[in-house]
């Protein structure tokens, strides 16, 4: 497997600096700030995207919702979860940029000036808003099978024992779903943490996140220090590997109810 060999080589290279000085630099200004911003963006979009995605998925799956809505949402999510990067960034500039359709509409018709309210699409908030476009579909795709796994009988049994709907969710539904929800949120975190193209295109590289810093070193915009870029890449790998370590036991726990 040549692919496997190159892969292993790909991340061994990040480590092979004889000194630790580059890795140590990561904990200093401004690199630690980039990690903080990256993690903040990833956490925010994972939490909000996770919760909202859960509600949307449940709304599509629950009893009473027409079946075509669910299959439509699943198909759309399958497509939208894969789409991101440069086109996504432009779609948001067209919508909420300074001359975006929605910005102009709000200003002209509702006399509400988004930009003077302190909103800028090219800021951290803007990046988070755009990331939701692939975070929500991913959450919907990942969590739907788990919601399907909630058996109708459990709900009937709870009702027969006199439980209110909120009691069912508090003592049965959420505890069963929790490992799946947390696992899915970790996937979302990793998804946002690794993203580069969307933020790069949206902010022209001005938002200070780790992938953009690494990119800047390679395009020679800042200093040409490939070792530092490699150390930063290694730092990203460490964060994601840590996430994987949390994810695997959660996944095992979630599989318990899947049968």
């Amino acid at each position: 497997m040549p692919a496997g060999a190159v892969l292993v080589g790909a991340f061994q290279n990040n480590q092979d600096n004889p000194t630790l000085s580059n890795v140590r630099l990561l904990f200093n200004h401004p690199y630690i700030d980039a990690y903080r911003t990256s993690i903040e963006i990833s956490l925010t979009t994972a939490l909000i995207g996770g919760v909202a995605g859960l509600f949307i998925a449940y709304a599509a799956i629950r009893e009473g919702t027409p079946k075509f809505l669910r299959s439509g949402l699943t198909t759309f999510s399958g497509v939208a979860a894969n789409f991101g990067g440069i086109p996504l960034a432009f779609a948001f500039i067209a919508t909420l940029g300074p001359l975006g359709i929605l910005t102009v509409f709000l200003k002209d018709h509702l006399h509400y000036n988004l930009n003077s309210q302190g909103f800028s699409l090219f800021s951290k908030t803007g990046v988070e808003l755009a990331y939701m476009y692939f975070q929500l579909p991913l959450m919907i795709l990942v969590i739907s099978p788990a919601i399907d796994g909630l058996k109708k009988e459990w709900r009937e049994a709870a009702a027969n024992l006199g439980a209110q709907p909120w009691q069912f969710w508090r003592y049965v539904g959420l505890p069963v779903l929790m490992p799946s929800i947390l696992g899915a949120m970790i996937l979302l975190f990793g998804n946002a943490f690794a993203a580069y193209a969307t933020a790069y295109s949206l902010t022209s590289g001005s938002v200070n996140i780790v992938p953009i810093l690494i990119g800047a070193y390679y395009s020679g915009n800042v200093l040409d220090n490939p070792h530092l870029a490699q150390a930063m890449a290694f730092g990203m790998f460490a964060v994601l590997a840590l996430m994987m370590l949390i994810y695997i036991p959660l996944q095992r726990r979630a599989a318990k109810w899947a049968k």
Binding site: L69, Y133, A197, P226
Partner: protein, 270 residues
């Protein structure tokens, strides 16, 4: 005693959530469409001029061709490597399967931005025909990027057929290994191979990170260039790129539906 009433109509809260989701997903696409129809001179609606600008742009066709050829190259190389490998693993070395499944997870933990750093370093000393050509360096990177999707899709395909019986039947009829592979196994995993190919197509056509950092001019780089330099035509080229991704993903879903199982469809062009 409580009783769970079967809900006959859609619940109000479900309506609210689905409408919010629909608004969030549809408005940016609609805004892009409106922008793409605006005239470059007057800023008024509606003209197809921007689409003409894109279609008459030489760089558009040039980069689109590079990306498409790269996608084809990636698909051919990946299938040539992974179909025989996974066939062998299923037939003779089932113990290796978890190992490969683990290797297939690595590109999920190592994002493209990290991978390209490693690749640029690994291949630094290689000859120019490889390092400075998209057909060499980029294709190698994309084969790695496509590996997990290829593996999970093909693996599911191989699991749904009886590899042993098919191979024995084919060999007792006197077929050689190559005949078995091409005329017996391949037709049986065709839909899995197709699904993997469409996914790879979507990934390669949208991949920006690796191409940008290794300074190759592919289709996404062209889109980014238009975004930076041209206001309204950018809307047109963005919608076209959406169209390509959607066509690839919808073909994938159709292929998967025929097979009667959902395939793994989470890629990364972010």
């Amino acid at each position: 005693m409580g009783e769970v009433k079967a809900r006959r109509f859609i619940s109000p809260s479900a309506v609210v959530w689905l409408l919010l989701a629909a608004a969030y997903f549809i408005i940016p696409l609609f805004a892009t469409l409106l922008i793409s129809l605006k005239s470059n001179q007057t800023g008024n609606c509606c003209t197809a001029h921007n689409y003409g600008w894109v279609l008459h742009n030489g760089d558009f066709w040039h980069t689109l061709r590079i990306s498409f050829m790269l996608a084809l190259e990636t698909i051919v190389i990946s299938l040539a490597i992974f179909v025989p490998t996974i066939y062998l693993v299923h037939l003779k070395l089932p113990k290796l399967r978890p190992v490969i499944a683990f290797l297939a997870l690595i590109p999920f933990i190592v994002p493209p931005i990290v991978m390209v750093v490693g690749l640029l370093r690994t291949f630094k000393g290689t000859p120019a025909w490889f390092y400075q050509q998209p057909w060499g360096f980029l294709a190698a990177a994309y084969v790695i990027l496509a590996f997990p999707y290829m593996f999970f899709s093909l693996d599911a395909g191989f699991r749904s057929i009886d590899v042993h019986t098919l191979t024995e039947a084919s060999q007792s009829l006197g077929a050689s290994w190559t005949t078995t592979l091409f005329r017996v196994i391949l037709p049986n995993i065709r839909s899995a191979a197709l699904a993997a190919s469409f996914l790879t197509l979507a990934i390669v056509m949208g991949e920006f990170t690796i191409a940008n950092l290794s300074a190759f001019h592919t289709f996404p780089i062209f889109i980014q260039y238009v975004n930076e330099s041209q206001g309204f035509p950018a809307g047109a080229v963005t919608l076209m790129s959406f169209g390509i991704t959607w066509a690839a993903m919808l073909s994938l879903l159709l292929v998967g539906r025929k097979r009667g199982q959902s395939s793994r469809i989470i890629a990364g062009a972010r």
